[in-house]
């Protein structure tokens, strides 16, 4: 290979890799779930639960006394169905005595073979993290980004319905 071509290849390769890395970092930062802060619905305002379709705006969000953390209702609250590249993801939060006592997976990512495997592995890990943190604001599971994202967003919607603010 001639020197000119070799030098150009090396420089172009380095440039391409650096650009990829930069874009990747930006994408990752954007993808990390933002801290919980959506619609803190007080007490009884949570309307009928149930799947509220494919958007992430699952919370009913009647504006209430913002910030005042009223006691969360007890019961099972179904989160929104989150669409991921690997299929829908939906969870329900069980709240008892003002605490998250369980997270049930209603729909799990099921498209593309490995995503079922991933979901089976990631779901229990996410559940235990959530129960420990008492929040949907936990770190995502490596290698299961989309699953984690769907899981935590659906959970957040459920918590919003319950008026759960942790």
């Amino acid at each position: 290979m001639r020197r000119r071509a070799a030098v150009a290849s090396v420089i172009a390769s380095a440039g391409v890799l650096i650009a990829g890395f930069q874009i990747g970092s930006a994408v990752t930062a954007a993808r990390t779930p933002s801290t919980t802060g959506t619609g803190t619905a007080p007490g009884g305002s949570a309307s009928n639960s149930g799947t509220s379709g494919g958007t992430s705006s699952g919370s009913t969000g009647t504006t209430g006394s913002s910030g005042s953390s009223g006691p969360a209702k007890d019961g099972t609250f179904t989160g929104a169905t989150e669409q991921t590249p690997f299929g829908p993801m939906q969870v329900a939060a069980v709240i008892s005595g003002g605490k998250i006592t369980d997270v049930k997976v209603l729909q799990k990512t099921n498209q593309g073979g490995r995503s079922v495997q991933i979901s089976n592995q990631a779901d229990p890990m996410l559940r235990s993290e959530v129960l420990q943190a008492q929040s949907a604001n936990v770190s995502m599971i490596g290698g299961a980004t989309y699953t984690s994202e769907g899981y935590l967003m659906s959970l957040q919607a459920a918590l919003d319905q319950a008026g759960f603010t942790g």
Partner: protein
Amino acid sequence: MTIQNVSRPVLPQSSGNRPSPRARFRRRSAISDLLVVIAWVSGPVAASLYLASGGLADVKNVGSFLTALGIVTGLIGTDFILLMLVLAARVPMIDRAVGHDRAIGLHRQLGKPALYLILGHAVLLLAGYGASSGINPIAEIGPMLTLPDMITAVVGTALLIAVVVTSLVAVRRRFPYEFWHVIHLLSYAAVIFALPHQLSIGGTLAEGTVQRVYWIGLYVLAIGAIVIFRFAVPLFKSWAHDIRVQQVEWIAPDVASIHLTGRDLRALGAAGGEFLIWRFWTAGTWWHSHPISLSAVPTDHRARITVRVLGRGTRRLATVKPGTRVSFAGPYGIFTDAARTSPKLAIVAAGIGITPARALLEGSRLARGEATVLVRSSTDDETFLWSEMRKLAEARGAELFAMVGPRARNSWMSQQDAARGVTLRSVFPDLDRSDLYVCGPQRWAEAVVADARAAGLPEHQIHLESFEL
């Protein structure tokens, strides 16, 4: 040295308004460099797209690290394989810029790295998935195979191993060409078999991602190049030119010229020195194609190729009946005027290598004294086409030297001339300002090239066309 100093008739050889060899060389080398850069950078681009999609964010522990590494090796390996397809597709632009032989040379070099990357991909993902599930990589094989499209991927990998192993020089020599060729055709199947698992498993090429669009584009490009340039164009040209055998003429004990007729054949080998890949449609020969140089620049209705009978395949060729239908692919090669870089032309040819050398001389526009030709043979039987060469040299105002006699040890020259101290420079005094075209049996031709390099001739002034024996 048997020197035949040929008188030089003054010929009205206008060199026309074409750019100088130097300018054309710059253009060609710029395209060549660009292609080389694109080829090498496509690997990093594969890795970069993975990074850009946030691949690194998934790396949290050893298992996910191995998985990410496995994905990247798979991507780069696939990129190499697609690159190999493009290089083997005989795309005219690539052929003209870097030459078919260099393209195939790079194709060969990429074979083993591509296979290692694909095998690394499998091993790393087994280890990575295994580590994530807390089981060892061997135990992970079972669950892995239950994933969709994994069976076809494994079959594709097995085919790839077969293709690469049969192409290793040591292995390839043990089998007839046809065996290697049939196995090699399986590489198309390997590529197709491997495709589904890339699209269905894992998130890397998930629907709606930039990477999916990019990779599908690459596949379309590579497979499209093969379909168009390896199949569609040759089929169409063969049909359009409608070539038949007119006559087979033995010109030496083991050398035959095959005269062909057809339509508009001038379009075939506009540049003398090119070769085509021929297929003769008789019961005994249709399944075997042969790369053979044109030994004369074609006229409208006639073309001539000259072939040395080396084995059963070529012997059958020499017995084809007049009227036999002939299909072809090509022309290929840059052993032509188009590859010139310097003001003078030096041609060294031996044995069957005389065929492209003769066509090159015939097809080149030359000023008087621009070209010098050296023809070489071990015995008098090997001097076929020399008389034609002599007439051509006379007509082109070229100087012709001949060198007959057994080869000296450690030299490409005859014993007699080596002993007399003949050198490349004494035959070609203007060597430094010349393009040296070497054509003949591989080892001999390589010896000439080594000699030229030792004499300080830069690489771009050396043009080699070797015949593997």
